[in-house]
């Protein structure tokens, strides 16, 4: 266990988020089971009041998840001197088997929470709560994930002991490591670059097509969803190399540091927002079958598509500029 302000803060926030979300999930289950829009009974009025509580909590939990994600990376980075062989966040997260799963689950929950908020917003714009059951079922299903996240984070920090020899980004993300990340970068950068630019181009093209004509919406969302992991893989595979100006430093975290002008945030944040809105555009598309959402859903989808296009464009632009200005040539 490491007793540091940052680890304490992370654990505290994790407890708060989990506790709060469980409260929300508990009420959500109640609403899911007992909701009856036809009734004017007091119970129904009470349930309706609770929808406000749940929205408030989720509106609060989502930014907290994002902020604590940032803090987790910061902390991991700050702890690396405590571990022989760890050179940055990548090494610190690998000191025990809970670090990377915790990070992954955190990213997934943040993604899902974002999708949920968009769904919730959509529901609040219709006058008959058309999505109430769906969205609260979704929320209830998210609960186990939040609990898992909290447990993983606690296991990670309590299992962490300074001075364990760990692999750091040098070996974890180096060519001979048999993990997925190792496979990723053993692909020649040219292939990865081709993959990245074509995925991005397809996603953007289909997005523009959908925005202009209203067709190929599903294709766009699928491409937007695929582009998210492809882009992260590309950061590990080659974008990072250009930023670090080192031909073998495959680390997705170091670029969040001050040495690299926090460029990581300018890459990850648009990527994340773009992915959330791109995926949401797909998730909400079946809801246009609801009479009260008939007009709202297409508008929202168009809007979400625009957000994805702008965010992904921004990401590509920053990555390309970094590649061009970097003295490193692969």
């Amino acid at each position: 266990m490491i007793l540091r302000p940052s680890t304490l803060a992370l654990l505290l926030i994790s407890l708060l988020v989990t506790g709060f979300s469980l409260t929300a999930g508990f009420h959500a289950m109640g609403i899911h089971d007992r909701w009856d829009p036809a009734s004017g009974s007091e119970e129904q009025l009470e349930l309706e009041r609770k929808t406000y509580l749940i929205s408030t909590i989720m509106n609060y939990v989502f930014p907290l998840e994002l902020l604590s994600l940032i803090l987790l990376l910061y902390t991991a980075d700050e702890l690396h001197p405590l571990f022989t062989g760890a050179m940055c966040a990548a090494g610190t997260l690998a000191v025990n088997p809970y670090g990377y799963p915790a990070l992954l689950v955190k990213i997934v929950t943040a993604l899902l929470a974002g999708v949920w908020l968009i769904m919730n917003h959509l529901d609040s714009r219709a006058f008959d709560y058309p999505l109430i059951r769906t969205k609260y079922l979704f929320l209830t299903l998210m609960m186990p994930l939040l609990v898992v996240e909290c447990v993983l984070l606690f296991s990670y920090f309590s299992g962490i002991k300074p001075d364990i020899i760990t692999s750091c980004c040098g070996s974890l993300f180096s060519h001979d490591s048999p993990t997925l990340s190792g496979d990723l970068i053993s692909l020649p950068p040219v292939i990865m670059q081709a993959l990245f630019f074509s995925a991005m181009a397809l996603a953007l093209l289909s997005g523009i097509l959908f925005y202009r004509t209203g067709r190929y919406g599903q294709l766009f969302s699928a491409l937007a969803a695929v582009t998210f992991p492809v882009s992260i893989a590309s950061i590990i595979s080659f974008i990072g190399l250009y930023i670090y100006e080192l031909p073998s430093h495959h680390c997705p975290f170091c670029l969040l540091q001050k040495e690299y002008h926090f460029i990581g945030y300018f890459l990850y944040v648009p990527l994340f927002i773009g992915a959330v809105s791109g995926i949401s555009a797909r998730v909400i598309s079946p809801f246009s079958a609801n009479p009260s959402l008939r007009r709202i859903v297409p508008d929202t989808r168009r809007y979400l598509t625009l957000v994805t296009i702008i965010c992904y464009l921004l990401f590509t632009l920053i990555a390309t500029v970094e590649m061009i200005i970097s003295p490193l040539k692969l």
């Binding site: 829009p37 004017g40 009974s41 007091e42 714009r125 219709a126 006058f127």
Partner: protein
């Protein structure tokens, strides 16, 4: 026009202290008229007005608003009557804000802020520019002769002035229907007369006015179009006085 059919409001449903404040009320309220609800204390006048005014929802029955003449953001076709019974609070509030103005028994002004701000309050949440709202509020205060108190805190107003400020507040969003619950209960007879003057002015401006009252000055006044008599949550009598 407002139509109510089989409207019932019960409190503490399913509990031993269950109480039905409004029982199976069916009623039509025509536009641009002054309608007075009278009846003894506890007969359900306030409850009925809160139902009509989108402040609470009936336990059963339906309430519809016809020919509002105001665009409601989520309503696709303004010609169809607007059913307000099952709407979420969010939409009830939008309707309440744009169609109804309320005058309460107590003036219910917020102490500590100025007269002007009190009048502007209902418009804060509709996303209008405050300078525009303030301009309208000053016009209304002018109309009711309290403009020179605009910057004063409300606690310094006299009873009649406070009442007029409350009316100005009810009118800030230019509602089609004014709901007044026992508006003259705290006024002496001269001020009550003055209040009825104001009501007649509003009626001339084409507003519908619903008043709950057991004050003879109100229901004996010449400007009343209809009197609805209530007892124990039901309507005893509904007659036109013209």
């Amino acid at each position: 026009m407002i139509t109510l059919s089989g409207v019932t409001k019960a409190f503490s449903c399913g509990k031993p202290n269950e109480f039905t404040a409004v029982t199976n009320v069916t009623l039509e309220i025509p536009p641009r008229q002054v309608t007075v609800f009278k009846g003894p204390s506890g007969s359900g006048k306030t409850s009925l007005l809160t139902l009509i005014g989108c402040m609470s929802r009936p336990t059963s029955g339906r309430i519809q608003l016809h020919g509002l003449g105001v665009p409601i953001p989520f309503q696709e076709d303004t010609a169809v009557p607007l059913e307000i019974t099952g709407l979420p609070e969010r939409f009830l509030t939008i309707i309440r804000r744009s169609i109804f103005g309320f005058v309460f028994q107590q003036c219910n002004l917020i102490t500590g802020i100025s007269v002007l701000e009190n009048v502007m309050l209902p418009a804060y949440t509709s996303g209008e520019r405050l300078s525009e709202v303030a301009r309208r509020a000053l016009l209304l205060l002018e109309q009711f002769g309290v403009a020179r108190h605009a910057r004063q805190p409300v606690e310094l107003l006299s009873g009649g002035e406070a009442q007029r400020v409350a009316i100005a507040r009810a009118l800030i969003n230019n509602p089609a229907i004014i709901i007044a619950d026992e508006p003259t209960a705290h006024l002496d007879s001269k001020l009550s007369q003055e209040f009825m003057e104001i009501v007649s002015g509003l009626k001339r401006d084409g507003k519908s006015i619903l008043i709950a009252s057991h004050d003879p000055i109100v229901f004996d006044s010449g400007i009343i179009d209809r009197v609805v008599e209530m007892r124990d949550g039901t309507i005893l009598d509904d007659r036109s006085v013209r």
